[in-house]
Every structure is written in C-alpha cells, then in structure tokens.
C-alpha cells in the first residue's frame, strides 16, 4: 500500500509540468488568487512570529478598542487583539478546509471509481445515493449530523465532508466511465492487470487533474460551511480563534465595534476567493479541452 501511495504521489507530481506552470503564470486572475493564498498561508505558517500577542491573551483594560497602530484590527469584548486572532485563525481555516476536502475527496473518489468501473447494480445504488445527497440542502444535513455528534471542530469536519462528497463521486464516475472504454484500459486487461490495479494505476492517475481542480474549488465552500457551523456555535469552542466563531462573538457588538465582525468576514471572503480564483485558473490550465492549442 505504501508503494502504491508513493507511486500515486509521484504521478501527481508529474501533473505539474513546466508548460503548465508557465501558462499558470500568465493567467492573471490565477496569479491574484495565488498571491492572496500565499499571504494567508504565510500568515498561518508564521503566526507565532507575526502575531503581536497570543490569540487568547485577555486584557479587560483594553476592551473593544478601535483599530490603531498598536492593535491593527482593534480588540474584542475581552480585550484580545483581533489581528492576532485573525492570524492564528488562518491556521484553523486552512487546516479545516484541507481536512474537509481530503475526507470528502476520499469518500467521493472511492465511490465514483467503484460505480464508474463496475457498471450495473453497484453503479445504480451508488448513483442513486449520490443523487439523493445532491438534492438535499447540505447545511441542514450538516447541522443534523453535528447535532447528533455534538459540537467540536472534528465533528464539524466530519459533518461537512459527509454532506459534500457528491461532486467528487459524480466527476470521478463520469471520468472513469469514459476511461474504461479507452484502449489503454483494454490493453491493461489484455496483459492481465487486476481490477484493483486498473483502478489505481490506470484510471485514478488520469482523473487526478479533475480531482485537484475540484478540490481547489470546493475548499472555499468547505471553509464557508465550517465557519457557518462555528458561527452557529457548533464548531470551534472559545477561546479558539476560529473566524466563524469570531463572527459569532462579534455580532453582539456589531454597532459599537464593527471591526470585531468585519475583519473575520473579510478574511473568510478573501480565503474563499483566493481558492476560487486559483481553482478556475488550474482548470483553465490543466484541462486540455478548454485550452487552445
């Protein structure tokens, strides 16, 4: 299994060929997205260095201070530095977004591969299940799951992943179906490859581009859903500097101290936007059908 993963990693790496990198650099909106994302990732990685204070450092003397040179984004109702909390919050947002996408991609890709490869009964069952899920409002379903599992960031991740793997299953299924009839899959069977090997060595690597693009495009909604759940109080519990939770706490002071809500809101939007721009660019660059040769 480790060998297989190693192989997959190598193949995923080969996706980034120099020509595509060049095209990406020329993609203007993509560059903006990439720049934004770099800033946010930089914030997350160097939070300990650039945040002037700890995210949970309470100072009741400094409650609800407006933005100033000392407190760039002001302070909240407990006197915590909003800028520091935003910086630390980037870690949570990115980590949660990526985690959700990994889990939902895992579920969706596996089911999509199986239903695309084995047509017939199995395909019908999985497809029907996918369609049902697709038709259900995801946030309500996620709320129901979180209610059952109880509040907490891990549970939010599970809930959001469980309700949003359907696009992965659909795309991978469609891709798989078109690849199964391709000659190289036929040739793989002719040399005696097993079904499992065909799925993982021949089909999956050829769907990887679509999966990467889809992942980039679903990270924003993963972040939005998790922050929404946190905003509703199901996600991260205080004093975790989750942007959604910060919005929630800030809403009580929205008229007197709007910076408590504005800055988390702005950063949620910017993060989602950066992934969207990057995802669009990746799709343009990596999908040969959309690219003019």
């Amino acid at each position: 299994m480790t060998r297989l993963l190693e192989d997959l990693r190598k193949k995923a790496y080969s996706v980034y060929r120099s020509e595509e990198v060049k095209l990406l650099i020329r993609h203007r909106r993509g560059v903006v997205g990439l720049a934004l994302l770099t800033i946010i990732v930089f914030m997350a990685l160097t939070a300990d260095l650039i945040a002037p204070r700890r995210f949970d450092e309470v100072d009741t003397a400094l409650r609800l201070q407006p933005p100033s040179l000392k407190h760039l984004f002001g302070t909240d109702h407990l006197g915590r530095d909003v800028f520091s909390r935003i910086v630390y919050g980037a870690r949570i947002a990115l980590w949660v977004g990526i985690l959700v996408v990994l889990v939902e991609a895992g579920i969706g890709v596996t089911l999509g591969l199986i239903s695309g490869y084995y047509s017939g009964f199995l395909d019908k069952v999985i497809s029907a299940f996918t369609d049902m899920l697709w038709a259900f409002p995801p946030i309500i379903l996620a709320l129901a799951i979180v209610t059952i599992l109880g509040p907490g960031l891990t549970n939010v991740v599970i809930a959001v992943a469980v309700v949003s793997w359907a696009p992965y299953a659909r795309i991978v299924r469609a891709k798989t179906q078109s690849l199964v009839s391709r000659e190289f899959v036929m040739a793989a069977r002719a040399i005696g490859e097993s079904d499992l090997s065909i799925m993982f060595r021949y089909i999956l690597p050829n769907t990887l581009v679509s999966i990467i693009v889809l992942a980039t495009l679903t990270i924003p909604s993963a972040i939005l859903y998790t922050t929404a759940l946190s905003f509703l109080g199901f996600g991260a519990q205080p004093p975790t500097p989750d942007w959604g939770a910060m919005l929630n706490e800030g809403k009580d002071y929205i008229f007197g101290a709007p910076w408590n809500s504005i800055f988390p809101g702005v950063f949620i939007t910017l993060t989602a936007l950066s992934f969207n721009l990057l995802g669009d660019a990746l799709r343009d660059v990596l999908d040969p059908k959309l690219r003019l040769r």
Binding site: K11, S14, F184, A188, I191, G192
Partner: protein, 328 residues
C-alpha cells in the same frame, strides 16, 4: 493452435424507456482456425464486426455463445486463474497508439507491468527484458523515461507492440495497427511486425479495412460483412479469384496507385450497408448485390467450398466468377 467455433457476440440495445430490447449482432456465427506462425487477415468495413471479433477472441469482451479453443482449452470457459495464463500467451495492439498507452506512465513502467503481473524477473532482470524488447521494436534506452505524449505516433505504436510481445506470446491480435499512421511510417511498422513474427514465430490476427495491407501481411484472409464471414481463403487465391460478390466489390473499390489501371473493369454496388439493428432477411448483402435472386432474399447462405481452403458464403459460389477484377 486457435480454433473458433460458432462465435457470437450480441450487444443489448434499448432505445427509450418503453421499447423492447434489441440485439446488435456484431459478430454472428463466426468460425475459423489459425495455425502457429500464420497471419489471419480479417478484412471488413465499419460495422463488419472485425474489431469486436478480435476483442472477443481474447475475451476482452465476453462472448455471447460459441467456443474459442486455444491450445486445446476453451477460453470462453476459463476461470480467473486460467484467464491470467491465457493473457500471458496473448497480446493486442490497437489502432490509435496514443490512446492505447496510459498517459501517466513512462515507457519503462508500461513495459514492466506485464512482467510484474506475471511475476517474471525482478529489478535487473526485468530491466534487461525491457531494454531487450525496446531494441526489438527499434527504440533505445533513451526512450525508457519518456511519457507517451513525448513520442511520435510511430514510436508510440512501437511501444504498444513492445508491450504486446514482451511476454513472448503465441497469439497477437493487431487491430488496424497502421491505420492511424502516416504512409511512410506505416511501412516501417509493417516491416517491424513481419520481422517480429519471423523471429518469435508469432501468430497474428491482423484486423484491417485496407485490403492492400491485408494482402501484404496475411497468409489467410477472412472477409467480413455485417457480423458474418462472407469469404475465407488463402490470401493470393482471394485476390486472384474472389468468389463472393462483396469481396469482388471490395477489391475493385480500392484506389490503386497506378494511373494506368484507372479504366480497369470494376464491380460496383449501389447503396450503403443497412443498419445492424435492421438487418435484412436472407443474405445480408442481397440489397446491394447485383446478382441477388429471390433465394438470396429469403434464405441465408451457408458456406460452399470452392477450392482448397476456400470457403464462400454465397448461394451462387459455383456459378459466379469475378476473375476479371484482377489487381495489377
């Protein structure tokens, strides 16, 4: 070595929700046998079932009925384990070389896979056989680490051929191996295939729509029309003395690269082949055949033996002769 008896491959076809299920009879009651080291050319136009036949013989498609006897064993009834050893002694090359190679695998890995699956050699030994087979097909070590899209069409087809022969198979199905290549490259690939057949005593089933190519590579030729075999004969005999009106039509339809033959006598047919979903009664060729009679419209012809190893599926095989349609 390979005997195929009454092979049928039908595809289910359903149009709309309420209509009844129809069957596309892609391969319908085909029988033939091939000896070791011989090339059987399978010739036909689109819809003749020649590609389906090739895939079914290798059990890449499940036959609807019939026997495929390979070295005394019925392939149609093989278990999973038996099928794996059958795979070891067969190979296939497709028409479009690019789509027959996994775009995300390097040449080295493409060629190592068959060895790994069948547990032959490891590490050094398998690398040796990979370089050996690359040399056999006229490529070199410099191609090992390339991806298929970095090779030309001819080179891709060489890799596909290498993959088909690396396990030293006995039977190789070649499905239009040169059709998508340029003329100057076609000749190279045909020469390569003939060299390899000679060196490794390979048996070929060579599927093509190009009669000139079929004539060049084949010992025996089988002409198919709408899922049926219409004529089966030694290659030179077929070209010298075609006995089925369809074969004669095909022969005189080939544009010949010689302006002096522009005005040669030709057999012409009207119309186009009917749809496989709506096959005529009787002989499947009767609507286009200038010699058709009521018998042809009602009764499906069986095979008539008109000479040594020369079978024709025509009611009038003995009466009709098309010797005037010689080629050169």
């Amino acid at each position: 070595m390979l005997t195929v008896r009454n092979l049928r491959k039908y595809f289910r076809f359903k149009r709309g929700l309420l209509s009844t299920v129809q069957y596309i009879r892609a391969v319908d009651d085909v029988s033939f046998s091939v000896d070791r080291g011989v090339t059987l050319g399978v010739v036909g136009e689109s819809g003749s079932g020649k590609t389906t036949l090739g895939l079914t013989v290798l059990r890449l498609l499940e036959p609807t009925s019939g026997e495929i006897v390979f070295n005394g064993v019925d392939v149609a009834k093989l278990s999973k384990k038996g099928l794996k050893s059958f795979r070891r002694s067969t190979g296939i090359v497709f028409q479009d070389p690019y789509s027959s190679l996994n775009p995300r695998m390097r040449v080295k890995e493409i060629l190592e896979r068959p060895l790994k699956i069948h547990g032959i050699g490891s590490g050094e030994a398998s690398l040796d056989s990979v370089s050996g087979v690359l040399e056999d097909v006229g490529l070199g070590e410099e191609h090992l680490m390339r991806y298929p899209h970095e090779l030309s069409g001819g080179q891709q087809q060489r890799v596909a051929i290498a993959r088909a022969i690396i396990l030293k198979p006995q039977l190789v199905v070649l499905d239009e191996p040169t059709s998508s290549l340029d003329v100057s490259v076609q000749a190279q690939i045909l020469n390569l295939l003939l060299d390899l057949q000679y060196r490794y005593v390979l048996t070929y089933i060579f599927i093509t729509h190009d009669l000139l190519t079929a004539r060049h590579v084949s010992d025996v030729i089988m002409v198919m029309y709408l899922g049926k075999v219409v004529e089966l004969s030694r290659a030179h005999e077929l070209f010298l003395n075609p006995r089925h009106p369809y074969t004669a039509t095909l022969l005189s339809s080939i544009p010949l690269p010689d302006p002096k033959l522009k005005t040669r006598k030709r057999m012409e047919v009207v119309g186009e082949p009917p749809s496989l979903l709506n096959l005529p009664k009787g002989c499947r060729f009767h609507q286009r055949c200038p010699y058709a009679t009521d018998k042809c419209r009602l009764e499906e012809p069986g095979f008539t033996r008109v000479g040594d190893d020369h079978l024709v599926a025509c009611h009038y095989a003995h009466e009709l002769s098309f010797e005037g349609f010689t080629l050169w």
